[in-house]
Assembly symmetry: C2
Homo-oligomer: 223 residues x 2
């Protein structure tokens, strides 16, 4: 398809498409003349990926990093997947100490759950930082919480993998990166909403009449 | 306790404690002379809260917003809780369209799950944005995924509420804010690690011998 059709298909403005081409985020089309090129489904998918990551607030250099990994052919799927996912937020705060090296808190959790892991995977250091922050706030994660969270998270991850396309290395990495980036805010929003739902039911003594406003009452009546 | 003891107890440097006092993040101590004041456990807890939120990368104005809500007495617990949690990340991208008003995608999910919700709660708009991003990437959330995620997230949220202190309004709000801010990165890191664990087991055809490096093999042998 021509670039004008690519714009129409994806809804990404022409100037933005050209910008992504210049920046190397979008792979070049197949040249059909000195001034024209042909684009295909790969370009449509790539634009969707870039827009989805940008909409999550990812800075352009991080998107470039992910795209470069998707385009790389010299690495195993495992390594490419790990690196691409490490390029997603949350990022360590700028003024933070260097990455925790042996991650004792994260290791304890993973060993308790009996999970395989690569200690160099960025999520290990991410878990370590989060557990250390909890400890310093006087809220160390209890074994009970590790077990319950572990069980439910594994259930979610099982489904994620069940639904992951495996027809090609590219499709798998692309879906894994998108699924990680786009389902994390879904999960955190769902957890906050589940808290609200349960709190409204349980802590009625904390919610004097009138503190639950009508929309909640409305939705209760509708059930 | 004196300010020097507060520093020793919390590990927060004196200059930082004074800065938080000036900025109104830390409530003033009880004056014992023109130049001295006495501090108590509330100050220790408040410093832990500020440090924990800062370590998660929260900007100071957001921390101030949360602290102000904790100190406010004119609002119901429900409203204070909702506002404090809305001050936590993720934040909508700066250049984003205004908040989605009626949030049809989020409503569909919440109605399917039969959950009570307040449509003005920030997590509704957050869920709507995340679902819209998925749709625009061609990955709309299926009913199967809504049901499985919903069930597991509710299980996690049940435990969160079971473990929430309810001895006072302040303790509840403080623990809810901290628990939301600090357990979200734990959950997202655990999900990424669960993916790695399951992928290493399932997709052996994608991981040629040698692509799983020795630390993973080590941890497998240890089991």
């Amino acid at each position: 398809m021509r670039i004008s059709e690519l714009v129409a298909r994806t809804g990404v403005p022409l100037a933005t498409v050209k910008y992504y081409l210049r920046e190397g985020l979008l792979m070049p089309g197949e040249a059909t003349s000195a001034t024209q090129a042909r684009y295909d489904e790969r370009h449509v998918r790539r634009l969707a990926l870039i827009r989805a990551l940008a909409a999550q607030g990812l800075p352009l250099p991080r998107i470039r990093e992910i795209v470069r990994l998707l385009d790389g052919t010299d690495e195993s799927l495992f390594v490419a997947l790990g690196r691409a996912i490490a390029a997603l937020p949350p990022y360590p705060p700028d003024d933070d100490a260097p990455e925790p090296r042996d991650c004792p808190r994260a290791r304890r959790v993973l060993e308790r759950l009996g999970q395989l892991y690569d200690p160099r995977f960025a999520a290990v250091a991410q878990l370590e930082r989060a557990l250390a922050a909890l400890e310093s706030a006087g809220l160390a994660m209890s074994d009970e919480r590790i077990d319950v969270y572990g069980r439910h998270v594994l259930g979610i991850a099982e489904l994620d993998l069940d639904l992951l396309p495996t027809r090609s290395r590219d499709a798998t990495v692309e879906a894994a990166v998108l699924g990680t980036a786009l389902y994390e805010p879904v999960l955190t929003a769902m957890r906050r909403l589940a808290h609200q739902h349960l709190a409204a039911r349980r802590f009625t003594e904390f919610f004097p009449p009138g503190s639950l406003d009508s929309p909640v009452a409305d939705s209760q009546e509708q059930q």
